[in-house]
């Protein structure tokens, strides 16, 4: 039988605020345990939550970016369950009236655009962390993360393959970073995902029973976890079994998913509106302010790059993959005044290559847009050749000097003075009579030898076009 995979994702994006969703404790990552858990985060008796405005703005921003309805009124609810990383015995979340309603996002698969529905996005507080290292057989609880704002983005079950799921997750990842509402750091858990996976016979309308894969924190693992789970479900059904609705954990070491029975028992969360918080009203003023602060979104930017800079689709996708990279590119184009293509080549090939090798991203690039533009200017005005430019680029990477300073200091300026080149060429012709004869007798290949000699004699600084032209003239 042919099977179809159905996937929906629940993505948790930590919002990049300074303070927590309901308290004034810092959200900074990596502090000593429990040093950033204030009385509110600890759920001490009598303390009360007050909502962080920035959290609301960020959620509204996201809603607008996916063309969703942003609810004029939304309500916080208590989700009740006992767990040691959940200090109050309930998580403040949203149930019936989430802040962001139905929206959508387009992904691109093999050149085709597919629209993925977003069911809703709601605000909630993150829990703390349980540390299982050995505390004499006990578990240690660190509540620094408790109360960190999360936007939970719930998709429709619109994805039909692990690849689509990854494409969607990447798209959301790109978007939240564009909007500057989440740092997207998956290692630190700022961006994580649960996947609802089911299979059904191809052509069947109704969905199969789904399993929820919990807390997957890399794109690679999402794909692997979904594929292995799909395989498991198909094997199970084909072997006469049935899939049960449950939560499963992906084990990346063994590349398998396994049931988390401990989370299963009696999931009765007893949601009800949190009486400590009032309904959240999104005023027209706030709406207008957020609209005004919306950046150009990735898809629009990509289209603009294609049109404005005459880039192909692939290059535009690369250049707009992050807001910082796109900004970097545009700033290089602007300050160098160079041809757009030259700029994109140097960024996508040389700069991104070097960044990848160093495993850092564009924000940490040792070469800023200004210095790269300085280099490109000298390529375009023929001061240096492309080959020399690579040498200058390496020096730019390791120093703080400008391209002009490097060219000057190392004497890398291209020789464009035709008199000087002529003298050199004449000497080469005189010194190599054998090769001249070969060339004149029809061995065109030998021409390269003369070019090579000329470049060698000038340490690569001769303008190659000039050398070519002059050699051709002289060897007639």
């Amino acid at each position: 039988m042919e099977w179809e995979t159905v996937i929906g994702l629940e993505i948790h994006a930590q919002l990049a605020t300074k303070s927590k969703i309901f308290s004034a404790a810092s959200t900074a990552y990596g502090s000593e345990p429990n040093t950033q858990a204030c009385a509110v985060d600890l759920g001490l008796p009598g303390v009360l939550p007050v909502l962080n405005e920035e959290v609301v703005r960020m959620a509204v921003k996201f809603g607008m970016a996916i063309e969703a309805e942003v609810a004029p009124y939304s309500v916080f609810a208590r989700k009740n369950y006992f767990y040691p990383d959940l200090p109050k015995g309930y998580q403040i979340s949203q149930m019936e009236l989430p802040i962001v309603g139905t929206g959508h996002l387009d992904i691109e698969m093999d050149g085709k655009v597919k629209r993925i529905g977003v069911t809703r996005a709601h605000l909630e507080e993150d829990a703390g962390k349980s540390l299982h290292e050995d505390f004499h057989g006990l578990t240690g609880i660190d509540l620094n993360r408790a109360g960190t704002p999360l936007l939970e983005i719930v998709s429709e079950p619109d994805m039909r393959s692990a690849k689509e799921a990854v494409a969607y997750m990447r798209k959301i990842h790109e978007l939240v970073r564009y909007l500057e509402i989440c740092d997207g750091n998956m290692q630190e858990g700022s961006f994580r995902c649960d996947a609802n996976v089911s299979v059904r016979p191809k052509g069947q309308q109704e969905y199969g029973t789904r399993a929820e894969l919990k807390n997957i924190n890399s794109f690679k693992f999402v794909e692997k976890a979904i594929n292995i789970e799909v395989e498991r479900q198909i094997d199970l059904i084909e072997g006469g079994g049935t899939v049960i609705q449950e939560t499963r954990l992906y084990d990346s070491d063994k590349n398998e998913t396994r049931s988390m029975r401990s989370k299963e028992e009696a999931n009765d969360y007893r949601y009800f509106p949190d009486p400590d918080l009032l309904p959240v009203e999104i005023s027209n003023t706030l709406r207008a302010e957020v609209t005004a602060s919306l950046p150009e979104l990735p898809t629009a930017k990509k289209q603009r790059f294609i049109k404005q800079y005459k880039q192909d689709s692939e290059t535009s996708t690369t250049l707009t993959s992050s807001r910082q990279l796109a900004d970097f590119y545009e700033s290089v184009v602007e300050s160098s005044g160079c041809e757009a293509k030259l700029c994109s080549n140097w960024i996508t090939v040389n700069l991104l290559g070097a960044l990848n090798k160093a495993d850092i991203d564009i924000n940490q690039s040792p070469i800023d847009s200004e210095r790269l533009a300085g280099l490109l200017k000298r390529i375009e005005d023929n001061t240096i050749s492309g080959k020399i430019a690579k040498q200058v680029f390496d020096t730019l990477w390791d120093s703080t000097a400008t391209a002009d300073e490097i060219i000057e200091e190392k004497g890398l300026k291209q020789i464009t003075d035709s008199g000087a080149i002529e003298t050199i060429i004449d000497k080469i012709i005189v010194d190599n009579p054998q090769q001249v004869e070969q060339y004149l007798s029809g061995k065109d290949k030998v021409f390269g030898f003369f070019v090579g000699q000329a470049m060698k004699a000038t340490q690569g600084k001769a303008n190659p076009a000039e050398v070519n032209k002059m050699l051709k003239d002289k060897l007639k």
Binding site: A24, A25, E32, G140, I141, S262, L278, P279
Partner: protein
């Protein structure tokens, strides 16, 4: 309405509330009586009524995004039942 002993046990577990076996029947009957009292509400038609969560018809006020809380771990943990290296300790949590 009659709540069974099993139902009481189930709710007590949801609430992680230890109750003595000897008391379960008493709780079951008291809760049943309370439920009888509550069913009085069902006689009133409220189809067109909006639920009222708060006495004040107000909306949520916002706090500016400022991280002003200082580290008070020592102070907060001085009242904790069991701590080590700044962590709260609990019996082993199994995932």
């Amino acid at each position: 309405m009659n709540l069974s002993a099993d139902e009481v046990k189930k709710i007590a577990y949801l609430a992680r509330l230890g109750i003595n076996d000897n008391d379960i029947d008493a709780y079951a009957s008291e809760l049943s009586n309370m439920l009888d009292l509550m069913t009085q509400m069902s006689d009133t038609n409220t189809d067109a009524i909006q639920p009222m969560a708060h006495p004040m018809d107000q909306t949520q006020r916002f706090r500016a995004d400022i991280a002003s809380e200082k580290n008070q771990r020592q102070n907060f943990q001085s009242i904790a039942p069991q701590i080590e290296n700044g962590l709260y300790l609990v019996p082993k949590v199994l995932d």
